[in-house]
Amino acid sequence: MVGLNHYLFLSAILFCMGMYTISTRRNAVAILMGIELVLNAGSLNLVAFSRFSDTGLSGQIFSIFVITLAAAEATIALAIVVSIYLNTKNIRADESTLLKN
């Protein structure tokens, strides 16, 4: 049957994939997508724990907060990306090295 471990395993894989996306994608928007993946993996984890234990609904409530937070944070991040684009005309992450050294 589908038990807790399956959900945890799934969120772990999603988390790793999201991590990998952040680490290796050049496009800034793609990095943001990776961030979403990581956050969602985390909230999936939370919901799974809430379903399979007796701690009530706090996990699910917490995951709603996470979603809100993710949205806000994505907004800000995109605003930054837009401002970088307006300044440097590209959104390559590896070429935004103004803070270098």
Partner: protein, 682 residues
């Protein structure tokens, strides 16, 4: 009156300061004022001296001592030396001579030096000299006397080298000072030894009265080397006296000192400074009478000098040089007198010599003045008619020095010869040499007298278009006073043998009574009117008379005799003319080695000593350089090293900041993983 004694040296000092300070400050007075101040200070000193001596004579003979203490000068431990003046019969004679004859010479010098451009400086030095001479004779203790002793040496140097722009004059001044100094050195050692010896007996004094009182402690005291202390002390004092009073071996400065102006020669080298040695022996006679060895040495050297210097004077052609050697010779007679214990005879000859030698020098100065500064006697002659006053006064001095009966020189010289004769068998030898010396004296003085004043004038009329003329009154008047004194001044010492009562000897007996007793008793034992005394007088007078006659035939009219005799004994003549080559001997044995030694020391000082000092300096510099290097290299290196290390580290660490977010995420993930793994493992 004794409280005014300090005025006697003060007046000449004031004169010297007045003339000196203004002169060296560039402020010149008129010659009348300058000379007038100098001479009047001398007269004032003479006046006070007369007053003091008169007051002294009112006292009992045994108590005739005045002491005038000014203030305690030195106080070290138990020794106290005061700035104090002592007047007793001996110093009374000296101050009268110094101030009296000094005054006459000052007046004479105003005339003599009138055309000189350094008139004021001359009188400064002359007054200064008299001040020191008075300190010498009035000094109550050895140290004050020594201050005067050195001071007269200094003034002698200044006055001999008065015309120092001519090198020979400057050299003569230096020679006088240096030779004097040798004597002074011996003198200092002498009185240091004396003081030490006295302290060994618990006596801490340098005053003459103290020495007189405690001298008996020194009888029999020996030095570690087996010599009697008193003998050594008195011998050292005597060496000092040979320097100051120009005896063998330290007489060589006096003939050269004739480079100074003639009044200087008259004052210093006839009447005063050169008598300092004899005065000193008189002052310390208590010590000398305790040392018969020294007395013999004194008498022997005195009479040998008298003879020896006379022989040199025989062939000199410069009038002043003849007089200079004559002075050396006559001083020898004074030492002869002191050496045989005839102290008052010696002092009497000192006084009469001051009269006649002062007169002879001043007369010679008058001759030189008349001859327009020509001093060679071969160019003189026949001056008898041209400068009669000078001639007559010079005649008086001449008669005195050759020992014309009843002149002052006769009385004093024959007194000395008589006392020498009657002091034992050695005394007979001394008398004989002294007699020969007297004969030589008569000869060379007659030679001088006849060559200068008789015969034809040999001066020529080339550039000296003036005829020799008489000197002004201011120069002739002192000559006349001295002439009278030379002829009649000896009568106060007329011995009993000739009908007098020898007041002079009586006056001095409190001073010389102590030690002279033995000798006096010997003399008395020979009975008052010993016929031998008359015999001796007759012998010396006839010898002198014969010498005068021989000199007359040689020199009074142009004669070939001198040349003939000179050619008969060429080697002897050469020796005498060149003063026995003594100066050259000294130059070779003393002067040159000293100069070589001092050059060596100078090189040593600049080479070794300075080299050493410089080496120390260089080592210091090297050391500080090393320090600096270490500081620069090591210390700064370390500091800089830390800095550059941090910089390098920073450079490397900079590379971590790539500015790429992805790198930061990567690091973050790896870090978290490490933490988790760590938690699992540990």
């Amino acid at each position: 009156m004794q409280h005014y004694i300090w005025l006697i040296p003060l007046f000449p000092l004031l004169g010297a300061l007045f003339n000196g300070l203004s002169n060296f400050a560039g402020f010149r007075f008129s010659k009348k004022i300058s000379g007038g101040i100098a001479a009047s200070m001398m007269m004032a000193a003479f006046g006070v001296s007369v007053g003091v001596v008169l007051a002294l004579s009112h006292l009992e003979p045994a108590h005739r001592v005045f002491v005038n203490v000014l203030y305690p000068w030195i106080k070290i431990g138990q020794l106290q030396v005061d700035l104090a003046f002592l007047v007793d019969p001996l110093s009374s004679v000296m101050i009268l001579i110094i101030t009296g004859i000094g005054t006459l010479i000052h007046f004479y010098a105003i005339g003599y030096m009138w055309e000189d451009k350094s008139f004021q400086r001359f009188f400064t030095y002359l007054n200064f000299f008299v001040f020191f001479m008075l300190l010498l004779v009035l000094g109550e203790n050895v140290l004050l006397m020594f201050v005067g002793w050195e001071g007269v040496g200094l003034c002698s140097y200044l006055l001999i080298g008065f015309w120092f722009s001519e090198l020979p004059n400057a050299k003569a001044g230096m020679k006088a000072f240096v030779v004097n100094r040798i004597g002074d050195f011996a003198f200092i050692i002498g009185f240091a030894l004396l003081y030490w010896a006295l302290t060994q007996h618990g006596v801490y004094t340098l005053s003459f009265r103290g020495i007189q009182e405690h001298a008996h402690h020194l009888i029999g005291m020996m030095t570690p080397m087996g010599l009697s202390v008193v003998t050594v002390v008195t011998l050292l004092f005597f060496v000092g006296a040979t320097g100051k009073s120009a005896q063998i071996p330290l007489y060589v400065w006096l003939p050269d000192a004739m480079a100074g102006p003639t009044p200087v020669s008259a004052l210093i080298h006839a009447a005063t400074m050169v008598t300092a040695g004899i005065y000193m022996i008189g002052r310390t006679n208590v010590l000398f009478t305790m040392a018969p060895t020294t007395m013999t040495v004194v008498a022997t050297i005195g009479v040998l000098t008298a003879f020896f210097a006379g022989t040199i004077g025989l062939v000199q052609n410069d009038i002043k040089k003849v007089l200079a050697y004559s002075t050396v010779s006559q001083l020898g007679y004074m030492f002869l007198g002191m050496g045989v214990g005839a102290f008052s005879a010696g002092i009497m000859h000192l006084m009469t010599h001051a009269f006649f030698k002062g007169l002879l020098f001043l007369g010679a100065g008058s001759v030189i003045h008349a001859m327009h500064h020509e001093q060679d006697m071969r160019k003189m002659g026949g001056l008898r008619k041209k400068i009669p006053y000078t001639y007559l006064t010079f005649l008086a001095g001449y008669l005195a020095i050759i020992g014309f009966p009843f002149s002052s020189g006769f009385i004093s010289k024959d007194e000395i010869l008589w006392k020498a004769f009657s002091s034992g068998s050695y005394g007979k030898f001394l008398w004989f040499v002294g007699l020969c010396g007297a004969g030589i004296t008569a000869f060379y003085m007659s030679r001088l007298f006849f060559m200068t004043f008789f015969g034809h004038f040999r001066g020529g009329h080339d550039d000296h278009h003036h005829e020799p003329h008489e000197s002004p009154w201011i120069m002739v008047a002192p000559l006349m006073v001295l002439g009278v004194l030379s002829l009649f001044g000896g009568l106060i010492g007329l011995p009993q043998a000739l009908g007098g009562s020898n007041l002079f000897e009586h006056w001095l007996s409190p001073v010389f009574g102590h030690g002279a007793h033995e000798v006096a008793e010997q003399v008395v034992a020979h009975a008052h009117h010993d016929p031998i005394e008359y015999v001796l007088m007759v012998i010396s007078t006839s010898l002198a008379g014969f010498m005068v006659y021989v000199a007359y035939t040689f020199y009074a009219h142009e004669s070939a005799k001198p040349k003939v005799w000179a050619e008969k004994f060429p080697a002897l003549y050469r020796k005498l003319y060149n003063k026995y080559f003594v100066d050259e001997f000294y130059q070779g044995t003393v002067v040159k080695p000293t100069l070589t030694w001092s050059a060596f020391l100078a090189r040593f000082d600049s080479g070794v000593v300075d080299g050493f000092v410089n080496l120390v300096g260089r080592v210091g510099i090297l050391f500080s350089y090393l320090n600096g290097a270490i500081d620069r290299v090591l210390v700064d290196g370390m500091v800089n090293g830390v800095g550059s290390f941090l910089r390098a580290a920073g450079l490397q660490l900079r590379r971590l900041q790539t500015g790429r977010i992805q790198n930061y995420v990567y690091v973050l993930v790896v870090g978290v993983m490490l933490v988790i793994i760590g938690r699992i493992l540990i």
